[in-house]
Subunit: 297 residues, 2 copies
Amino acid sequence: MDPFLENLARYQARVEAALDRRLPAAGILPARLHQAMRYATLDGGKRLRAALVYATAEALGAEAAGADVPAASVELIHAYSLVHDDLPSMDDDDLRRGKPTCHKVFGEAMALLAGDALQSLAFELLAGDPALAVAPEVRLEMLHRLARAAGAAGMAGGQAIDLEAVGRTLSLPELENMHIHKTGALIRTAVGLGVLYAGAGGTARAAALDEYAKCLGLAFQIHDDILDVEGDAEVMGKTGGADRARDKPTYPALLGLAEAKAAAREWCQAALASLGPLGDNGWMLRRVAEYAVTRNR
Amino acid sequence: MDPFLENLARYQARVEAALDRRLPAAGILPARLHQAMRYATLDGGKRLRAALVYATAEALGAEAAGADVPAASVELIHAYSLVHDDLPSMDDDDLRRGKPTCHKVFGEAMALLAGDALQSLAFELLAGDPALAVAPEVRLEMLHRLARAAGAAGMAGGQAIDLEAVGRTLSLPELENMHIHKTGALIRTAVGLGVLYAGAGGTARAAALDEYAKCLGLAFQIHDDILDVEGDAEVMGKTGGADRARDKPTYPALLGLAEAKAAAREWCQAALASLGPLGDNGWMLRRVAEYAVTRNR
């Protein structure tokens, strides 16, 4: 088997088990809330953000086994953002990862609460989960980075820029700025948590990895926009063409499909180039960057 | 002037200024998100939770001036919960603190994001704000407590119990359990953060204060239910009778108004009794408990 796919499957299994153990049990009250949280988080995600935490840790010589808590935390933030993003007042999506969206199954109010509680859980784990064996200062830095990446200066801010942009024509710098916040901040933080976990904060390799993550985030998002245009809805498990139907600003809409593909490849190349200081140890992160612009879901 | 009201005003001014300095500026992009966050947080709250952080700190001999960060964090969690609670899919409230609710002014999607970003900001401050001068381990314990109090085992869990209870008749223990989560967890945590800030964690006084906070939380909530029945909507700045209109389980509905008032007084008495170990230093917390069951908003 391709060692990349093998590693990816190993990371996915790790974080799935870590999340399963840490999400509140479906049989304990308030059961519907717990069920909604589990439904929105478990099964079916690509787990790209968790994979970045693990792959970064391993590229820096640390054990993936000890990185479950940051990997789970970043996936919890991602899962909560999808639940809220799918709500009728936001994107009003019925399908996610091939399943009805959380509010379709549990109702809007419970989905709202489930998203809220998933966000809290991410910080609860980083603050106190004993499976994370790092110094208190490192935990705090992880918490600070994740909270900033989730909030107004990161993901939520990017969503707000997106909201305000619907129906407007953005310039390329404006579109980039939106995505740097909306998806880029969390991807960059996933790599940053891997660096902090591995004890490599402040090093030249940390700076290289941060540059890698910035480029990867844009490559990933441009490819996402491309998939919305020409992806297979069945493979993706969500409705295709949704961006255009909502008049959302996207790279293909702004640049045309061919130019958008070229831009994705360029950002991927820039990501690969920044991994120079890691030498052979960067192989998995290289493959992740290639995967980000070739995946079909 | 009554020293209680003087202190309360001092606490309110402190946390208002602390929040104002820490919320993102209304003129910086994404401006509408920042405006919604500020609108939902600044001006007009009772600031009971912040007052509990400050008053607990002072009762234990610590300076209120250093407790701005935990006080602001707990108010941010409270503010976010009100924004989401008022959304059409939840309580669908138009009025809060005498002003149109956040989604009435900024729209549902932006209000949802503002709530999300306020939650992130609470944890960002506790994780990294330099104005909080405590050991990293203490910060982590504060973060852990606040995250648990906000999430499925606390406030969000209580909201979920509430959702599931609409239209059902709860027993008194079920109603108490709902409120212990929905409002009690955050009130208890406010006192807990004051204890941690003052460096009194694990002491007999900490245990007494925790008991106080548990009793206060119930007294406060029962009085809230009573205000919904017989309070002056104009003074409260929100619609009266809303609980009954929604067929929500409340103390007056379950016990009758006279019994509910007696229960509020009993919990207040229990709160006062638990303050014994603090001697004269507990005077402000005593007054807060009395205020909780006599306030008219």
